[in-house]
Every structure is written in structure tokens, then in C-alpha cells.
Symmetry: C2
Subunit: 284 residues, 2 copies
């Protein structure tokens, strides 16, 4: 468990996918490890923000003196599940100078002429950075599978290709934190209705959102296969209950803090002679 003081029990064991995982059995409204409601959740998030910012700065500092390690947060979810809020409220607590954000939309014509991982590889974080994938290569086995955007054998090939890709990233020092925000169909309906009710949210709604919603069960099945096939020791999946936005944010913040803490970071030692530099500076 991380240094945050507000967890009553470590939520990790509930969030991290284990053997025999069945997505359909997972609650979407649980608040594992947290004893409190929305207001306490928001307060806890603000408390954790300082810690995540400090840890990220230490990672950045380490990167500046040759440490090759970095962290990659991968966010996948059904529409309205709260990816945007997590980027804003959790990722947003870190210094933008050390964060590499990449949002993956419908691939362009050029991207489609390359292997599906081509556009993704180019956005992987550098040493010292926290990378954030807002959607990712997993779209290629989610919408790709549900909408038959590639032949079945190509979809099959991708699971192994993803594992090899992530194994290579991990082998070169990337801690991969994969998160699926797990939303109920009812909650999605309410959130889409809210977007339609509020003129300031109309731009967030797209008629295609309902088209996708009609394929809810197919998507859940595709997520199940994805999790089974790509939850590995070096890049496990976490399934975060997302019906309560405040909890999902807190849980993802925790996963990020936990990943950063496991790097056992500290401020790097000077790579120069401090006393000599003090004299040079004084004389300048």
C-alpha cells in the first residue's frame, strides 16, 4: 500500500486481475478499501495529488541523471466511463513537463497502412517520463474485434503481439499500469442523457456513442478476452469500478502512486563537486 493515509485496506488485491477473472462478476459501484463518500473522496484525492506530483518529479530527476525508468498508464473504457476526468484530475496533478500524454482516436489512413502498433510505439514515454495512453493499442482488439475491422486471424495475432510489445517496454525499464474503467450500462445511459440535457456538454456527445452502446454485450465480451489474453506478470490489468467517478479517480491515483513508489525513488546525488561549484558561483 502506498504512503497515502486514507485507505482503510489496500485496494490492490481487488483491482488487480487474477486467475479465473470474470468481468461480468465484477461490481461497477464498489469502493474497495475506502471508508467514505464523495466528499471524503475528493479530499483524499487532493491529499494524494501532492504525493503523486512529488514522486513524478523524482522520476523526472532520476531520468535527468541517466536512470532509464519510466511509467506508462494505459486507460481503456467504454464511453463516458471517466477517462477524461482521470486525465484532468489525476494526471493533471503532475508537472506537464514530465508527462507524455497521447490520445488515440480513429486511426488515420497512413496509420492504417502500418502495423497497428506503429503509431503506439512512437508515443511511448522516455526515461523519466510518466506516459499516459488515453485509449491505446487495445482499441485494435476491442472495436477492432467487435466491428470486424480486421480479419479474425489478425485480431488473434494481436494479443501475442501486444504481449511481446509490452514485454519489451517492461524489459527496458517501463512500469506499465493498465486500467480498465468498469462502468454499468445503466450508469452510461444516465451520463449520456446528461450530455444531451446540458448545452455545455452537447459537444461531448456523438450519435455514434449510442451505436456503440447497442453493442454493449459484445464489447464486454471483447474486454473479457482482452484481459484474459493480455494480463501478464509484467503488465497486469486492473479493473476499476467506475460508476462513482470520485472512486475511480482515487483508485487510479493510487495505482500510479503505487507504481512510482515501487521504483524506490529518491533525489539523485550531485554529479559534480558541490563545494567547488559554490565557490565558482560566489565568484560569478
Amino acid at each position: 500500500m502506498g504512503r497515502e493515509s486514507f485507505w482503510t485496506t489496500d485496494p490492490d488485491e481487488h483491482l488487480r486481475v487474477g486467475k479465473g477473472f470474470v468481468l461480468a462478476d465484477q461490481p461497477t459501484d464498489a469502493v474497495y478499501g475506502f471508508d467514505g463518500g464523495k466528499r471524503q473522496g475528493a479530499k483524499a484525492l487532493a491529499e494524494g495529488a501532492g504525493l503523486v506530483a512529488e514522486l513524478q518529479e523524482q522520476l523526472f530527476a532520476a531520468g535527468s541523471v541517466g536512470d532509464r525508468r519510466r511509467v506508462l498508464l494505459v486507460l481503456q473504457a467504454m464511453d463516458t466511463a471517466g477517462k477524461g476526468g482521470i486525465v484532468s484530475h489525476v494526471v493533471g496533478a503532475m508537472n506537464p513537463g514530465g508527462v507524455h500524454y497521447a490520445g488515440f482516436k480513429k486511426p488515420t489512413e497512413v496509420e492504417l497502412k502500418h502495423d497497428f502498433l506503429w503509431r503506439v510505439e512512437r508515443e511511448t514515454p522516455m526515461a523519466g517520463q510518466v506516459g499516459v495512453f488515453d485509449r491505446s493499442h487495445y482499441e485494435d482488439v476491442l472495436i477492432g474485434r467487435v466491428r470486424n475491422l480486421a480479419p479474425a486471424d489478425e485480431i488473434e495475432r494481436r494479443y501475442d503481439a501486444i504481449n511481446d510489445f509490452e514485454k519489451a517496454l517492461a524489459g527496458d525499464g517501463t512500469t506499465i499500469v493498465k486500467v480498465m474503467l468498469h462502468l454499468s450500462a445503466d450508469e452510461q445511459k444516465e451520463r449520456l442523457a446528461d450530455r444531451l440535457d446540458r448545452p455545455d456538454k452537447h459537444w461531448k456527445y456523438n450519435p455514434a456513442d449510442v451505436d456503440e452502446r447497442l453493442l454493449w454485450d459484445d464489447y464486454q465480451a471483447a474486454y473479457q478476452v482482452m484481459i484474459e489474453r493480455t494480463s501478464t506478470e509484467y503488465a497486469p490489468w486492473h479493473v476499476v469500478p467506475a460508476d462513482r467517478k470520485w472512486y475511480a479517480r482515487l483508485a487510479v491515483q493510487h495505482l500510479l502512486i503505487d507504481a512510482l513508489e515501487r521504483l524506490d525513488l529518491d533525489w539523485p546525488r550531485a554529479t559534480y563537486d558541490v563545494e567547488k561549484e559554490k565557490k565558482r558561483l560566489a565568484a560569478s
Copy 2:
């Protein structure tokens, strides 16, 4: 003046470079337009953060429905002037999903084999984004000039090339906000000394910082020429007093808010039939 309520007078006229500008005459410790100290400044910054975040989201929303406009914040300064703090505290208030941050360090060998603007063009913001250049193409007429990294006629050529480049960006819908953080040599000395005194800041210090410091006057002269040659109607320079970090942050936040407000943004209207979509959603 922007919608922020805490300015006593509009700081713009003091910050924006006018005809006959002389950098050496500009104070580094002024707090133009703000009646208060550090504590009030921090409070004001937090108040402005909500506004800048909302405006940025409206820009992003506009970009999502075809508006080509974007904003580019260019930050230039001597070491320790506070660029990092501005990225963290001012830029950090916006949603990372709508911000494109680019830090420019010493050019790589490949970058040097291209025109100096090559690596910069690739990092310009897309429609709907706020771009942030942490250092920029101006390094090529600052350290480039002071250290003779290119022949004199090439340095000369660059001022016009920069103006043409920025004119094209502005012509395609980019509001360019150029900021020089103006620090005193004494304040820099204190800040470098602080980095040497604190083990948690040792990584931020580089012996080359003192080498550059010894060329202080040459850099000030290069900034003067840069401002004279590249402060244009479509991309004017702002010189922000930076001896007080809290004020520099507040002033840059204001310049950003002001640029966004001049776009006269609002939430985009729905591009679909709202009532029809409500029915489709209800039936789903």
C-alpha cells in the same frame, strides 16, 4: 483585461513590448497591476486556475467541431527564472488532454542537419490545443548568437525566418503568446545558491549554468536584439518581471486567459438532432 477580479489595473500595457523598448530599463521585481503580496498572489493564482481551465476546455470543444484555432505559449528565460514553475502551476491547471507541451533542449545531431525551425514546426499545437514551448526556436538566436553556434549571417537570417514562421502560424489560426521571464543577475545567484544548498535540488543544478551566467551581459544584449527584431503585431513579446515567482506565474496566467478570452469562445452547438438522440438513447 480578463475576467479575473484580482487585478487593480490591467497589467498588459506594462508587459507587452512597445516601440523603443529597452530591456535594461525594465524592472525585474515589479508587480504591475496587482495590489498584494505573495500570499494574495497564490490565492489569486488558484482563483484564475479555474477560469483558465474552463477557457481551455472551450477551445478544445471548439476544435472538436472544426474550429481551427489554437494558442501557443512560448517561454524564454535565463536559467532559474521560473519556466518550470510556470509550466507546473499555470499550464498544469489545464487538462493535459488538450495541452501540447514541448521542451526544447540542446539539438540532436539529426536536428542540426535540418533547418533550425524543423524540430519546432513538428511540435506546433493542433486545432483546439494549447501548445507550450519550454524554450523554443529563440534559443537559436540567443545561445546561438552568444556562443557563435552559427555564422553571423545565418543568425541574421533567422530573425526574418522566425517572423515568417510565426506569421504563417498566426495566419492559420494560432494565437501566439511570447513571454520572456525577466530576472535579475542577483536573484539568479540566490536561486543557483539555493540549488547547491539543498540536496533535493542538486539535480537541477548544472555546472554549465555558471558558464552561461558569466555571459550574462551578452545574453541580455541578445534578448534585446531578439525582442526588437521579432516583436510583431501578430506575435508580440511580453517581458514579465520574474524576481518574484508568484507574480510571474500570475502574469503569465493572465496573458493566457487574455489570449483565450479574445477568441470569444463558447460551448459549441450540437451538430446533431438533440431530441432525436434522446429518443434513441432512451430506447437503447
